[in-house]
């Protein structure tokens, strides 16, 4: 379908729209949801392109700029944490990798993606206020396309990382690519779920964006992005049980991003399966958070033109 059947599709759309254009119909009318989806698809592609094309217009390096930020962070963190603080993450097994910058990037790139999706997605309703007040279109497309444009950059970054990993000797990473992509999808779904919720919260309380900005900054240091979780583990062992058999590391691992990063490091740096616990956690987190975000957004979508 797609390219061929548009005339028929449009006709169908009109018919369904005619029957279903009533209040509250989209919430339970599955037919209507599918036409909404068809309409959304092209809008989604176009808005994503707008985001991608518009961003680096009139720059000499263009899209290359999207690689500059993670690269600069890598250099700074490697200098500070590997050379000054002498953090030595465990050697990748079975990959045999032992290089802090690569180990760092395996966690840093997913983190940056997550943080960008949340931060940009949160502000996207306010940024498109004029559009929302004047044109009808499914509003969630704004969040999805903002996330997709970031995902494209993330995809390029990950590709570069995989090449670097192979140059460093971890050829096995190629075999793991399908699973890596699966986990990338899970993280994207999780991040979009959070962005859906926070974008609504941000419309009600503009504090949200500043508050969440700080949380994300703290979050990076409360997540094993630039240091291995083994350091937290040994700290936790020193402290011992806190209450009722709960240790410090148990609390630390409540952070959902810890699960995702642990999975990415297993796949990319170690070239091994993530633990079953991490895998299940990632799937559940993505499903639950996205469902929640979807419901919150649906509930508030209709009021947006009024409350913005």
């Amino acid at each position: 379908m797609g390219a061929g059947g548009t005339d028929a599709d449009t006709g169908h759309c009109i018919l369904v729209e005619a029957v279903t254009r009533r209040r509250n119909v989209f919430r339970d009318g599955s037919v209507a949801v599918s036409t909404e989806f068809k309409r959304s698809r092209e809008l989604f592609v176009n808005l994503t392109q707008r985001e991608l094309k518009g961003k680096y217009k009139r720059t000499v390096l263009g899209q290359l700029w999207s690689l500059a930020n993670p690269l600069a962070l890598m250099l700074v963190y490697t200098f500070v944490f590997a050379f000054i603080f002498r953090i030595a993450p465990p050697v990748g097994s079975p990959s045999g990798l032992d290089a802090f910058p690569l180990w760092l990037l395996c966690g840093l790139l997913p983190w940056i993606f997550f943080s960008n999706v949340v931060q940009q997605g949160m502000g996207v309703l306010l940024a498109n206020e004029g559009l929302i007040k004047k044109v009808y279109f499914p509003r969630n497309v704004l969040i999805f396309s903002s996330a997709a444009s970031i995902a494209v950059n993330w995809g390029i970054e990950m590709l570069v990382l995989v090449i670097a990993l192979m140059i460093a000797g971890a050829y096995g990473v190629l075999l793991w690519m399908p699973i890596v992509i699966l986990f990338m999808l899970l993280l994207a779904i999780f991040a979009v779920g959070i962005a859906l919720m926070l974008s609504i919260a941000n419309v009600h309380f503009r504090d949200t964006q500043y508050f969440v900005g700080i949380i994300l900054q703290l979050g990076m240091y409360l997540t094993p992005v630039i240091y291995p979780i083994t350091l937290v583990q040994s700290l936790s062992d020193d402290v011992g049980n806190l209450v009722a058999g709960i240790s410090l590391v148990d609390l630390y691992r409540l952070n959902p991003m810890e699960r995702f990063l642990s999975a990415f490091r297993s796949l990319l740096y170690d070239n091994a399966w993530p633990t079953l616990g991490d895998t299940i956690a990632c799937i559940l987190l993505a499903a639950i958070v996205f469902a929640l975000g979807w419901v919150v957004f649906r509930r508030n979508e209709r009021k947006l033109a009024e409350i913005l």
Binding site: A3, I14, R21, R22, E42, N46, Q49, G130, K134, E306
Partner: protein, 243 residues
């Protein structure tokens, strides 16, 4: 012959008039509430039908609720009571050029704006020349739209919107865009719409134009429907109260 294109059934729309609105968390917590508001009914129990192929006008003073009603038809606002059924594809000309990305070219923005308004890619490709032609900015179509004059900007936006080829077109006083030549083009386009049997719904203050353009008018006052019918009688009734 008289198919109903739009069925407005006991529509009421409530707005909140905020006496105090705490959009920052600090003030919300300090005051212990998010807002203090009063309900304001912008539309009160409005019911009427608009026939297919009709050019229908909504008139009334500022704040009478006519634009709110139009926005409800355009699905931007949702009525609190009642329902609105629209038969066919709807396009709304509430504001043109919204959604243009200033850094992108006119060409790219036509595709972007077209898809925001609900056109498919094939549709836009098919109508592309006609859109450019109508807007009269063909020389600058590959320039970023931020370099356009405000007139060119509006003309391009209007041109995209009018090519959505809707069954029902909603227009909110945007008829007064562009220079005289462009206005003439727009007027011709509306005549063409009519000839093709499309439904056009216009909100305007210009009673003179409304009388010549519209088949029927509805007059709203303070959110209540006063009169629906022949333009002459509605305008006469409206004038007798207003002046």
């Amino acid at each position: 012959m008289t198919d109903v294109a739009v069925q407005i059934d006991q529509v009421s729309k409530k707005f909140r008039l905020y006496k105090e609105r705490n959009q920052s968390l600090k003030s919300a917590i300090m005051r212990g509430r998010k807002s203090v508001h009063e309900d304001f009914w912008a539309l009160k129990d409005i019911s009427f039908d608009i026939n297919a192929g009709e050019t229908f006008g909504l008139v009334g003073d500022n704040g009478s609720g006519k634009s709110t009603l139009l926005k409800c038809m355009a699905q931007i606002l949702y009525p609190d009571k009642g329902s609105i059924a629209m038969k066919g594809r709807v396009a709304a000309l509430l504001e043109v050029g919204s959604g243009f990305h200033p850094e992108l070219s006119g060409r790219e923005n036509i595709f972007l704006n077209g898809s925001i308004l609900g056109m498919s890619k094939q549709e836009i490709i098919a109508k592309f020349d006609s859109i450019v032609d109508f807007s009269g900015v063909s020389e600058f179509i590959d320039q970023p739209v931020k370099n356009y004059s405000s007139g060119m900007y509006v003309r391009l936006g209007f041109s995209v919107a009018i090519h959505v080829d809707p069954d029902i077109l909603l227009v909110d006083e945007v008829l007064a865009v562009g220079d005289e030549t462009f206005q003439q083009k727009c007027a011709d386009k509306f005549v063409e719409f009519r000839r093709e049997g499309k439904t056009v719904i216009i909100v305007s203050h210009a009673l003179g134009t409304m009388m010549t353009m519209c088949d029927r008018l509805a007059w709203l006052n303070h959110g209540e429907l006063q009169k629906v019918g022949e333009p002459e009688s509605v305008v006469a009734a409206y004038r007798s109260i207003a002046h």
